[in-house]
Symmetry: C2
Amino acid sequence: MSGVESAKPLAILCGGGSLALEAARLARESGREVFLIGIVGWASAEIEAFPHIWVRLGEVGKLFAALRERSIADMAIIGSVRRPELSDLWLDWGVIKRAREIARLFRGGDDGLLNGVARLLEREGLRIVSPRDFAPQLFAPVGGIAGRAPNGAEEADIAFGGALLGALSPFDVGQGAVVANARVLAVEAAEGTDAMLARVAQMRASGRLRLKGRAGVFVKAAKRGQDMRLDLPTVGPATIAAATSAELSGLAIAAGEVLIAERAAFASAAEAAGLFVVGWAP
Amino acid sequence: MSGVESAKPLAILCGGGSLALEAARLARESGREVFLIGIVGWASAEIEAFPHIWVRLGEVGKLFAALRERSIADMAIIGSVRRPELSDLWLDWGVIKRAREIARLFRGGDDGLLNGVARLLEREGLRIVSPRDFAPQLFAPVGGIAGRAPNGAEEADIAFGGALLGALSPFDVGQGAVVANARVLAVEAAEGTDAMLARVAQMRASGRLRLKGRAGVFVKAAKRGQDMRLDLPTVGPATIAAATSAELSGLAIAAGEVLIAERAAFASAAEAAGLFVVGWAP
C-alpha cells in the first residue's frame, strides 16, 4: 500500500464481535486515521475509544453525512449483523430517497444483501475495502497456528474437506464441513459453524456417530469467488469451544481467507483443548 | 425379467421400516417365492406372515445355512440398521471363520460397511439384488406424486438442488438438501433427512431464517454411482411430517432412485399438509 493511500482516513462500519475493533487498532498502528461507525445493538461500546458515531440499521442518511463531513471515501464492513426485518429498520430520509434499491435488497440470499449494500454505498462514491488491505494480520497464515501438526490421515481429511468446499462453492454455500477418515459428518449451510459443530457433538452423544476418542477435522474456507470485502468466514475462541464439544482432532482454516478473532485467546484455547489448528493454502 | 429368473426364490434381509414387507408383498404378487430374514431388534414382527427366520446381527453362519437349505441364491437387503458396535454382534462360527474380513468392515464410512457386507455375501455365492429388479413400484416415478405442480421458482430450486447434490456426490455425501429461492438452507450429511428438516424448522422458529410462509423445497436423490442394491434413499409419512414442521413448499425426489414407504399414506399426508411432491429425472 502506498504512503498516499494509507494516509487517507478509513471508516469501519462495525457489527458484532471483536474483529472490527481489532482491525481498527491494526489500521491505527499502521498510521492510518480511523473513524468507526457502530451499528446500534451490534457493535461493542469499546468503539468509543476511537473517533466514532452510532447509527441505527437504516440510518443511511446519517452515515453518508458523517462520512462526507470528514471527507472519508474508504470504508470497511466488519462484524456480524443478522439480516434485519424491514420493520427493524430506522427509516431516515437517506433510506426513503433510496427506497426502491433498499427494498430490492430484501429479496435473495444474505450474499445478495451484503453485495447490494456494498453496491449502494459505492454508487454514493464510497470505496468498500477489504480488511486484507489494511489488517492482513487478522487472516489465517499458512501452516501451524496452534498445537501439534496433523497426521497423515488428518492431512488427507483436510484435503478432502477442502475439495468438498470447492465443489459446493458454485452453489453459494460451503464455508465449512467436518470430515473424519474420509467421511463427511456435516456440511454447513444457513445454520452457521457453531450450530454445525453442535450437531456433530450431538450425533456423537446420541450414538448416531460412533467414533473413538478425538476424531474429525473442521475445515473452513471462503466460498470460491467470494467478495473478500464482505462477510468473511471467521473463527475465534467460541469455535474452539464448539470443536471441543464435538471431540474433534483439529481445525484447518483457509489461509488468507478466514479471519481469526482474538488470535491469542483462540490459540491458547486450542492448545488447552488439545486441538491442532493449521492454515491450508486454498 | 425372464420367467426363469422370477421363478427363483428370493430372500429379503429385513431391517427397520415398512419397505422390506412392502417389497416382499410385491415380489410375492408377481409370483415369486420369498423368504424373509428378520434382523432381531430391527425388522417388524409382520415378517412372520411369510416364510421367515430371525437372525441376530452377526449370525452369519445361521443366515448362510438357512439359505443353503432352501437353495436360495438371490437376496435383497432392505430397511434401516444402524452401524453396530462390534460388541453388539452375536458372534457365531460363521462370523468367527470370517473374522478378518468382518473386522475390516468396521473401518470406513457406512457405505464401506454395506458394500463390504455385500461383497462378503457375494463371495459366499449369494447374488445381492436391487428392489428395482423385483419391486420397481416402490420407487418415485417422474412427475406429480401428490399436490399441485411446483411453480417456476420452485422448479428452479429443484434444478439447483439437484445440481448441488450432483456436485456433492464424489464426496460420498449429498442425498438431501433444502433450497429456497436459490439459497441453500441446509445440506444433509451424517445427521440424516429428519434431523436436517428439523434444523430448518428450528432456524425458522429462532428467526435465523426469515422466510415468509411456505418456502423451500426438499430435494432428495441417490448419490451418483450409488450401488442401487444397498442403503437407498427413502421417504415416507415421517418425511411429510418433518417437511411440514419446516414449513416447506414441497418435496422433489429423484425418480427411480428414491424409495417411497407407505405410498398411499405418504401421498395423503402430503395432500393434507398442502405440500407438493414431484419426482424429477436425475
